[in-house]
């Protein structure tokens, strides 16, 4: 190719590149992502009985129990027109104190329920920081409609607003038969407060 030909080819190539930039910018601009989409969370998924880790804490769901009536430590009972779900978890911070600012369950239709504030749940306040290497056993309490109870996924994150944060997602195992049986049982299920379980060395953070 002659020098003139190379210059023409170079000019055409440059124009093509500029056109590609303009077109791709337009395409990206047309995506019109919503704020929630642009700031969406990062998820890490696990299952009951195994430890799941985020950048700040480890968590294990031990079991999930349905109840028609729950009671707090003072004996005060709480009724519901739906069903109570009690999720027994163990949590431990990784290398810095941390808190659980967001605890929710989501059903297979995308509906989300935050942990109930009808009962005192100290773990979900800033007043109960998790410390590195010190696992805490706790029960998270949710109040959900009965038709949602068997298709729920637990969601936990460090911040109250989980956008752009790591969110743990763990499907919960609550058979419909257990929900039916729980609703027929008038005896309240007592919600235990969180407690340190220092003797438990079966967690990923127990040895640095």
């Amino acid at each position: 190719m002659t020098g003139f030909g190379r210059r023409v080819a170079s000019g055409v190539g440059t124009l093509a590149l500029l056109a590609a930039v303009v077109v791709s910018t337009g395409v990206i601009g047309e995506q019109r992502l919503s704020t929630d989409e642009r700031y969406r969370e990062f998820t890490v998924t696990g299952e009951t009985g195994t430890w799941v880790s985020t950048d700040t804490f480890h968590v294990e769901v031990r079991s999930t129990q349905a109840a028609g009536v729950v009671a707090d430590q003072s004996g005060w009972q709480y009724q519901t027109s739906g069903v109570w779900l009690l999720v027994e978890v163990r949590l431990v911070a990784r290398t810095e104190p941390t808190t659980i600012g967001y605890a929710a369950v989501r059903d297979d239709r995308g509906r989300t329920w935050r942990a109930t504030d009808r009962l005192e749940q100290p773990l979900l306040h800033w007043s109960y920081p998790l410390q590195p290497g010190l696992p805490v056993a706790a029960t998270l309490v949710f109040e959900v409609p009965t038709d949602a109870a068997s298709s729920l996924t637990l969601r936990l994150s460090e911040r109250a607003d989980p956008r752009m944060r790591l969110v743990v997602q763990i499907p919960l195992r609550v058979p419909a038969t257990q929900v039916t049986a729980a609703l027929a049982d008038p005896e309240p299920t007592v919600v235990e407060p969180p407690r340190l379980v220092g003797e438990d060395v079966d967690h990923p953070g127990w040895r640095p």
């Binding site: 007043s127 220092g198 003797e199």
Partner: protein, 198 residues
């Protein structure tokens, strides 16, 4: 017409522009009105305040010196019995001398205490389980490590501040930090010597 060299291609032809990009990007970070470097720098305790030869550290409106770090004697304030902790959990009490250089309630308001162990793990004071415990048989009731003075303290008085930490039994206190959010990245750092660790 002289032949145009194509060796090196696009990279060779644009090398000066590419090199110029580096200082331009650096300048963009430095002069940005969002001050990303300052935001990053002040997000964590990064600059320990130097202590004098006798161990005193001047920080905010006070002078501080580490007195000792020892296993905490936590008591039930009603029964006087020892507070039992789960196996594998240990409580440490940190005591710091403080001299108030300004009005005591304005010296270190909202301070936070941290204990760093030999593995670099950082613990916060004021675990849920130790609040309301009595420090020793005749000691004060402990609520939080807030750097608050005694009620009658005035400028120039010297007092004691306490913090209690719960840590795994295998954790050894190596460093104590005191931070004030509006003073970051500067913070107080006490290296825990054997002489101060009982």
């Amino acid at each position: 017409m002289a032949a145009v060299s194509t060796r090196g291609g696009w990279w060779r032809r644009n090398r000066w522009a590419l090199l110029a990009l580096l200082p331009v990007l650096a300048a963009m970070v430095l002069v940005s009105p969002e001050q990303p470097h300052q935001v990053w720098r002040s997000a964590q305790p990064r600059e320990p305040v130097a202590a004098t030869a006798d161990g005193w550290v001047r920080y905010a409106g006070a002078r501080l010196r580490l007195r000792h770090v020892h296993p905490a004697d936590l008591r039930d304030p009603v029964t006087g019995r020892e507070v039992s902790l789960p196996a594998g959990v240990r409580a440490w009490q940190v005591t710091v001398e403080v001299e108030w250089l300004v009005e005591p309630y304005q010296a270190l308001p909202g301070c936070q205490w941290w204990l760093v162990d030999q593995y670099g793990r950082r613990y916060g004071a004021d675990a849920y389980e130790v609040r309301g415990a009595q420090l020793g048989v005749d000691g004060p009731t402990y609520w939080a490590s807030e750097c608050l003075p005694e009620e009658r303290d005035t400028v120039g008085d010297v007092g004691l501040l306490h913090a209690v930490f719960l840590v795994p039994a295998e954790a050894r206190p190596e460093v104590i930090q005191v931070t004030l959010r509006d003073r970051l990245p500067r913070y107080v750092r006490f290296d825990v010597a054997e002489s101060t660790r009982a």
